[in-house]
Amino acid sequence: MADTASHRMRAATPYWLCTPGLILLAVLLAVPMLMTFLLSFNAYSDTAGIIHSWSLANYAEILTDPYFASIFLRTLRVALVTTLACTLIGVPEAYIISRLKPRWRSLCLVVVLGPLLVSVVVRTLGWQILLARTGLINQVLVGIGALPHPVDLLFTETGMDIAMTHVMVPYMVLAVWTSIRQIDPRTEQAAHSLGANGFTTFRRVVLPQIVPGILSGSIIVFSLTASSFATPELIGGRREKVAATTIYDQFLTTLNWPEGAAIACLLIASIMIIVFAWNRLLERRYAAAAA
């Protein structure tokens, strides 16, 4: 009897160990998220504040108003351009880093991945200074004669694309580098000994093996960009609003919390749908290519 009791106690041990963490997460994560979802069905008036009614009015307004459509389209555009740019520069960079001498490789990894730990406000500040009308980029471009006069980069979507690419590209390098490390170097050596040049080796031997890394990297970059707040707010400002900065305004400026909550729910839902569809599409293609 005593044996079964102690056995049962031991079987319960992992659950006891998890209890404090689970309670905290339930109270501070699950409940607030659920409440935000419910909030999105409430109504709001300037005089009465939040009205506890239940309707889909917020969703109907967001989905039919061209103003919100333009915001969601801009969010999607910036996320796609950033993902594409990160793939185009991050994948070759990861491949180059992987072939450097070990000492250089560690140093370059720290330089490329280190910014992930530096506050995004600081990184964005750097781009605010660089992109300004009198900033370094305009000075250089005008100086070498590429531009007749300085152009506006701050508070434009192009500026946002550039800064977002800088903030996000370490994630792509990280994902691709992790998958390059798993490649058997003999496959590359074999390609070389059979007479393939560097580019052919990369395209025909390395690239097919790192597709999973590129895929996970692009999903991380896309979803983080689509929901990012600090860089779009500081670089895009009032003029180029995206979903996250609109949520911020609804909650802290106009105080229309129900509508802000509805935008938040739509943002999460769209990111999940796009990432899921993307995953399915590429998985099928990849499976077809491998077969």
Binding site: S119, S227, A244
Partner: protein, 264 residues
């Protein structure tokens, strides 16, 4: 391994310039003797670092950020340690679900987590209080702590613990004298990573802070939204210095290669 061609070297150099340019520019502007931001920077001065001393709001925000990062990281580590032990050493029904739930703050967009916590805290009227900030930051840093602790638990040699038990040590003594010391690197790594994440966090924090309780990241963000002058650059350099120091410490304790190379 194929040789890196000249074209690739040029690409690599351009990439590193792209990565470092904004950070270098901030560092240069911080040391400008001029009263405004201008390029190129002529000469060097510390006037904008002294200027921080005339902004007591930045200094109190800095102190608040340190307290907030310390407290939320310690509490998150204490709560995640038993969970990491359970997940790392036991197989039980619901283990994978619990793990994904505990890691989920990483996958929820901070902007959504921020408004959710604002809504929740408003009900209990702890919105904008220090307690609210600590609770919010605990949620944000918990996945980082858990990831480092799980790596630590996976590296534990269980034979040492069995030896302790067979020599008559109680479960608690074994935990305190054997398990905990062996987990020290994971605990310290998790704590440092959590501290950095808390210190840098902006998007969730902006919703749960208030004019009375403004951490440094929010204070800097608010200031930059109004004007960009060399003062924010000098504050940024101090933030970068702290991050770099923590990164070096983490590297000594844990190895940056392992930190970034681990499963994501």
């Amino acid at each position: 391994m194929s040789r890196v061609s000249v074209f690739e070297r040029l690409f690599h150099a351009a990439f590193l310039v792209f990565i470092l340019a904004p950070l270098v520019v901030v560092a240069l502007v911080a040391f400008t003797p001029a009263g405004y931001i201008s390029f190129p920077v002529h000469g060097a001065s510390l006037r904008w670092f002294y200027a921080i001393l005339n902004h007591p709001d930045f200094i109190s925000s800095f102190e608040l950020s340190i307290e907030l990062a310390l407290l939320s990281s310690v509490l998150a580590t204490l709560i995640m340690l038993p969970l990491a032990l359970a997940i790392g050493r036991y197989w039980f029904a619901g283990r994978d679900a619990i793990l994904s739930f505990a890691m989920s703050p990483l996958t929820i967009p901070p902007i959504v987590l921020g408004v959710a916590l604002l809504r929740f805290f408003a009900l209990f009227q702890i919105q904008g209080t220090f307690i609210g900030l600590v609770l919010a930051h605990m949620v944000v840093v918990m996945p980082y702590v858990l990831r480092m602790l799980l790596a630590g638990v996976a590296g534990l040699d269980r034979t040492v613990e069995r030896a302790a038990i067979s020599l008559g040590a109680s479960t608690f003594t074994t935990f305190r004298r054997i398990t905990l010391p062996m987990l020290l690197a994971g605990l310290a790594g998790g704590f440092i990573l959590a501290f950095t994440a808390s210190f840098d966090e902006l998007t969730v924090t902006i919703f749960v802070s208030s004019p009375q309780n403004t951490p440094l990241s929010v204070a800097l963000f608010n200031y930059i939204s109004q004007t960009v002058d060399p003062l924010v650059a000098s504050v940024s350099v101090i933030i970068m210095a702290i991050t770099t120091a923590l990164l070096i410490l983490l590297d000594r304790l844990y190895g940056v290669d392992r930190l970034f190379g681990g499963s994501k």
